[in-house]
């Protein structure tokens, strides 16, 4: 029997001290977008930090995370192959756009192959010729596209979205959101938001941090 695909959370529980912030027991199939809605400060971001294995001191997690049949609980962040897009684009300010993408691009391939993959990615994102640019000179929408492209070039097996559209204005927001969901059709995705339109656009189940359905 082939390993089950998708992201499985088995009784994943996140605590601050002894307070339970989130408890989830569910599966997200590739191409499915699970939306988690909760008020600010309820621990949405901490759940994502638990998923990538970067909980700050004072927080703890129990339960299991299984990704495409691979148990990733206990692995360091870099080995989990779970991508994360933050509210801020988190582009490295001392690197050019191209170098940012090179940093993200999964290892392997010749220098020329790597460069051409980045050029292709930029072209597909409507950013041809941007490789040498200083990220600080890009518009908000362009930076968001580069951040998404960088996350995908790392070839993650799941993608987490921590309100990545919150800083964009309404027009741009719909556009970038669509681009993101289009690009992640074969990945399990968790979207954390408190924005109704994000939840509707995601088109998947909308749950609370304890797995109860929430009407968007």
């Amino acid at each position: 029997m082939s390993a089950p695909t998708g992201l499985h959370l088995e009784s994943l529980t996140v605590r601050r001290g002894t307070d339970v912030l989130a408890q989830l027991n569910l599966t997200i199939r590739p191409g499915e977008v699970l939306t988690l809605m909760a008020p600010s400060g309820a621990g949405k971001s901490m759940l994502l930090q638990a998923l990538i294995g970067a909980l700050p001191p004072g927080f703890s997690a129990s339960g299991h995370i299984v990704l495409n049949g691979r148990k990733v609980t206990g692995l360091p962040t870099a080995a989990r192959r779970i991508g994360l897009l933050f509210q801020d684009d988190m582009l490295f300010p001392h690197l050019s756009v191209g170098q940012n993408l090179q940093f993200g691009l999964a290892p392997g391939g010749s220098k020329a192959q790597r460069r051409s993959r980045i050029e292709q990615g930029l072209a597909a994102a409507g950013l041809s010729g941007f490789a040498a640019r200083d990220p600080a000179t890009l518009s908000g929408g362009q930076r968001a596209r580069v951040a998404l492209l960088r996350a995908l070039l790392a070839e993650p097996q799941a993608l987490l979205l921590d309100e990545p559209f919150a800083r964009l204005d309404a027009n741009l927001r719909a556009q970038i959101r669509q681009a993101t969901f289009d690009a992640t059709r074969n990945l399990p995705v968790i979207l954390v938001t408190h924005d109704q339109s994000d939840a509707v656009a995601a088109g998947g189940p909308v749950l609370s941090l304890f797995g109860q359905p929430v009407s968007p």
Partner: protein
């Protein structure tokens, strides 16, 4: 276990200092105290040490407070800060030499006033330098330490929310000085206390500044100890050691006295608040004093350094001419072989000590970050130990240890001892930026599959290029300026620029002194210039990196 490692490292780091202290005190007990008690200069030397040290510290702190209170958010502050910041890199010896050139009876000030105002055709017979009260020494200390305290205060200021509290005070009818004293000064001073104590310890025990500017018979206690220690043969070792114990006790007592004075200051502030005084009248004179004294001191130091440069290229320069009759590079040309050797030695020691310090500091900060350790307050205090312990009390013992290890008189031993004084400055300079690095960038990189090593070498370290270079420049300046450790551990045979310049100061060859003092200035100046220029060049096309540097 892992959490104890930073403390363990610091213990290893502070032990040689304390060891030096203990070892250096041993000879005192073979008759040293009796000999010291019989020295007629003792009361005066003690009074000079306490008076110049505490006086200079109080004046520096007062002036720092005035400038921050009255000017920190005013347009006049930018030029003042631009003038004062580079002066921080000036070694104490060079500043003192420049000031001596300015103040001496045949110095620039007397020349500018003669003969039209004074009628002097010959240098007057006045003790404007080496005055028995130590006024020239106090002035030199204030000119050198005030910029240090000011920059420390500016670094701590944002945490004290000055803008809100000054507005609040003004809304309650307080004058600006009063609002500052009541609302901003108490938390600011709490953050300044350790630097102030370091200034106090240095001011009371400086050797090179006391030799160049201070009185002669008797000199300050520390200058006398240094004289005894460097006396050929070791016959003065017991009395020097006993005096070093007295000097350490004096510093500790002065620190205690300082704490008492802090209490008195707090009581005064409470009285001021309790009476409901607003002291609006004080603002105009306070602003005037801050402007006048701030720019006055900065101008004095700038003029001092210019004087050093001018003397180094002066051909004939008779009293009372304002400027040399002609200029020449002859002094430089003749000094070049010796100068080149000294410069090389100074640079090797400074780069070595700074490189080691940077490695240790970055390793410990990275360790702290990767293990999620919170900064340890006690560990940070211990880091100040080399700045708080008077060098004159520590170095004799360190010299003995170096002798026993057979490394006395080697550049390597000098480099290792410099490390102890360089490391605290490098740490204090780099730690805020290192800890302040946006760790979310590291998390973002990890989700892209980057391990800790890659994050460190490709993200954190390159992004901190500016702060790292600034810390390195500070380290180089500290090492290049060390006098007593170089003299003692080097056994007088490691002739760095500072050692040579101070040695020349007792002779009268102003041109040669100028050459060595300018060379001594040049090394830190180049280091700081590079620390500014290199990130600007590297990040010329990275706007966000340049913006961060503008802080």
């Amino acid at each position: 276990m892992i959490k104890a490692l930073p403390r363990l490292g610091l213990a290893l780091f502070t032990l040689p200092m304390l060891g030096g202290l203990v070892v250096g005190f041993v000879p005192a007990f073979s008759g040293g105290f009796a000999e010291l008690a019989g020295w007629p200069g003792l009361p005066r030397a003690v009074a000079l040490s306490v008076g110049t040290g505490m006086g200079a510290t109080a004046l520096s702190l007062l002036l720092t407070g005035l400038i921050v209170a009255m000017l920190h958010d005013r347009p006049a502050f930018a030029p003042l800060r631009r003038m004062l910041s580079p002066l921080l890199a000036v070694p104490h010896a060079a500043a003192a030499l420049g000031l001596a050139f300015l103040l001496a009876p045949s110095g620039w000030i007397a020349r500018l006033l003669s003969p039209w105002a004074t009628d002097w055709q010959q240098p007057p017979d006045l003790l404007t330098l080496h005055d028995p009260m130590g006024l020239a020494l106090t002035l030199g200390l204030v000119a050198k330490e005030m910029p240090f305290l000011l920059l420390m205060a500016l670094a701590a200021l944002p945490a004290c929310a000055p803008a809100q509290r000054l507005v609040l005070g003004a809304a309650l009818g307080h004058g600006r000085l009063s609002a500052f004293a009541v609302g901003v000064w108490p938390p600011l001073y709490a953050r300044l206390r350790l630097p102030v104590m370091a200034v106090l310890a240095y001011g009371m025990t400086t050797v090179e500044m006391a030799m160049i500017l201070g009185p002669g018979l008797p000199p300050t206690l520390s200058a006398q100890i240094a004289g005894w220690l460097t006396d050929a043969g070791l016959r003065h070792l017991p009395v020097a050691s006993a005096a070093a114990i007295v000097q350490l006790a004096l510093v500790l007592a002065a620190m205690g006295l300082w704490r008492v004075a802090e209490g008195a200051g707090r009581a005064g502030l409470r009285y001021h608040i309790g009476r409901g005084r607003r002291a609006v009248w004080a603002d105009a004179p306070a602003r005037l004093a801050a402007m006048g004294l701030g720019f006055g001191l900065a101008g004095l130091l700038a003029l001092s350094l210019a004087g050093l440069g001018l003397w180094s290229v002066a051909a004939e320069w008779r009293f009372p001419a304002d400027l040399p009759q002609s200029l020449t590079l002859q002094t430089w040309a003749r000094a070049l072989p010796a100068l080149g050797h000294s410069l090389w030695l100074t640079a090797v020691i400074a780069f070595g000590a700074t490189g080691l310090a940077l490695g240790l500091v970055i390793a410990s900060l990275q360790f702290e970050q990767s293990h999620g350790l919170v900064p340890d307050r006690w560990a940070e205090r211990a880091l100040y130990l080399p700045l708080l312990l008077p060098q004159i009390a520590v170095m004799p013992g360190v010299q003995v240890i170096a002798l026993h290890l057979g490394v006395e008189g080697t550049a390597l031993a000098v480099m290792v001892v410099h490390l102890f004084f360089v490391l605290p400055y490098v740490f204090l300079s780099l730690a805020p930026a290192y800890r302040g690095w946006d760790s979310r960038l590291g998390v973002a990189a990890a989700t892209l599959g980057a391990g800790q090593t890659r994050i460190f070498w490709h993200l954190r370290l390159p992004m901190l290029l500016g702060p790292v270079l600034t810390a390195a420049a500070l380290g180089i300046a500290v090492s290049a300026g060390q006098y007593l450790p170089t003299l003692m551990v080097g056994g007088g045979r490691v002739g760095t620029l500072t050692v040579e310049a101070v040695a020349l100061s007792s002779g009268g060859n102003r041109r040669l002194i100028g050459v060595f003092a300018v060379a001594q200035l040049a090394l830190p100046a180049v280091a700081f210039a590079l620390a500014l220029a290199v990130p600007r060049q590297v990040f010329a096309n990275r706007r966000a990196m340049l913006a961060e540097r503008g802080r």
